[in-house]
């Protein structure tokens, strides 16, 4: 597969090396001549010096035959433009943008970028896995559907204790699918189920209702 990587920083460099090792044809586009010189030593023939946001550079990079474009510069707006121009002007089927400011993730999605990767968010989610009691743990996010599978442990001060689920005001676009109670078989919860301290709750929730769900179960 022919893959164009725009941005020859650390992310671009290691990404290109991994993709090459997997047998892909890879070209890294980088505007800083010094970085290019360093990259050229390692990625023989796979480096193009130029501004990856310029349509002329893209044409030179053979963007028209690329199956995937990955924009991993340190500037979100540059990554956005690279992906949009690649998609609209060169008809690249798959565009992937790195996002530096996690708040831009939603904006990018609304502006039609196929896949976004936020290293900040990845690190945050890793930290959340280490301290899951702090918030909802994201098990899986289906970006296109706007739905996440989340996990949460019921704490001793949870406002959800002692009342059946149907009375908790759980939003319609949220479903508690599984309750794992220590020392018991997993429970498929229904309206009469009452949560206990230490229960692991796995829920399917729309992104919009996650905050409400967290408030209901954690306070």
């Amino acid at each position: 597969m022919y893959i164009v990587v725009v941005g020859g920083g650390k992310v671009g460099y290691y990404l290109a090396k991994s993709l090459l090792a997997e047998g892909h044809e890879v070209l890294v586009v980088e505007k800083d001549p010094q970085k290019c010189a360093t990259l050229a030593d390692e990625l023989v023939g796979g480096v193009l010096e130029g501004d990856g946001c310029e349509a002329a550079t893209m044409a030179e990079a053979g963007m028209g035959r690329a199956q995937v474009v990955v924009a991993v510069t340190g500037d979100d707006e540059d990554n956005l433009v690279v992906c949009q121009v690649a998609k609209r002007k060169f008809n690249v089927p798959r565009t992937i943008a790195r996002i530096n400011n996690p708040r831009n993730q939603r904006i990018f999605r609304q502006l039609g970028i196929d896949v976004t990767i936020s290293s900040t968010e990845l690190i945050i989610s890793q930290i959340e896995q280490v301290i899951p009691a702090e918030s909802l743990l994201h098990l899986l996010t289906l970006r296109g559907a706007g739905v996440s599978f989340v996990e949460l442990e019921i704490a001793p001060d949870s406002p959800a204790l002692g009342r059946p689920l149907r009375e908790l005001g759980i939003p319609d676009d949220c479903i508690l699918s599984l309750v794992i109670r220590p020392g018991q078989k997993a429970i498929i919860p229904y309206g009469d189920t009452v949560l206990q301290v230490g229960d692991q709750v796995i829920a399917v929730s729309s992104e919009a209702s996650e905050a409400t769900l967290r408030r209901i179960l954690r306070g």
């Binding site: 310029e54 349509a55 002329a56 500037d75 979100d76 707006e77 949009q84 121009v85 609209r88 904006i107």
Partner: protein, 138 residues
């Protein structure tokens, strides 16, 4: 009308002063506070410090009530992103975006942004002046 201008450079400041002078409600955003000096001491509009692709900053500048948004920072891609945020996310009806790179300008114009390319405009005007000069002087 309410206008939010992103970028308080020469163009942004000039436009902001003119609009505010005519009694329009103007908010100017720039990430450097020194840039606001260009507006002079009598500027009646709002000055907002921050980056214009941040939704909070745009809200603080009143984008939700704005009739128009103008992106004139010195970065083409910043303008392109901010203009799309204003148009697609905040639904601002009139959005104008400056893009220096003629190729990128063409792409985003065909994608439906109202764009202005000073490079192309300037080169074309100069060319016209030269042609006229040659006719006259030949």
């Amino acid at each position: 009308m309410r206008v939010v201008i992103l970028g308080c450079g020469r163009t942004g400041a000039q436009l902001a002063k003119a609009l505010a002078g005519e009694g329009h409600q103007v908010a100017v955003i720039d990430r450097r506070s020194a840039a606001f000096k260009r507006l002079g001491p009598d500027f009646a509009g709002q000055m907002v410090l921050g980056t214009g692709i941040d939704e909070d900053i745009l809200r603080r500048a009143g984008i939700e009530q704005a009739d128009a948004f103008v992106a004139v920072t010195n970065g083409d891609n910043t303008n392109v992103m901010a203009a799309q945020v204003a148009k697609e996310i905040f639904g601002v009806r009139r959005v104008i975006c400056r893009i220096y790179d003629p190729l990128r300008e063409e792409i985003y114009r065909t994608l439906g942004l109202d764009t202005i390319c000073p490079t192309l405009w300037g080169a074309t005007r100069i060319r016209e002046m030269l042609d006229r000069g040659c006719e006259g002087g030949a």
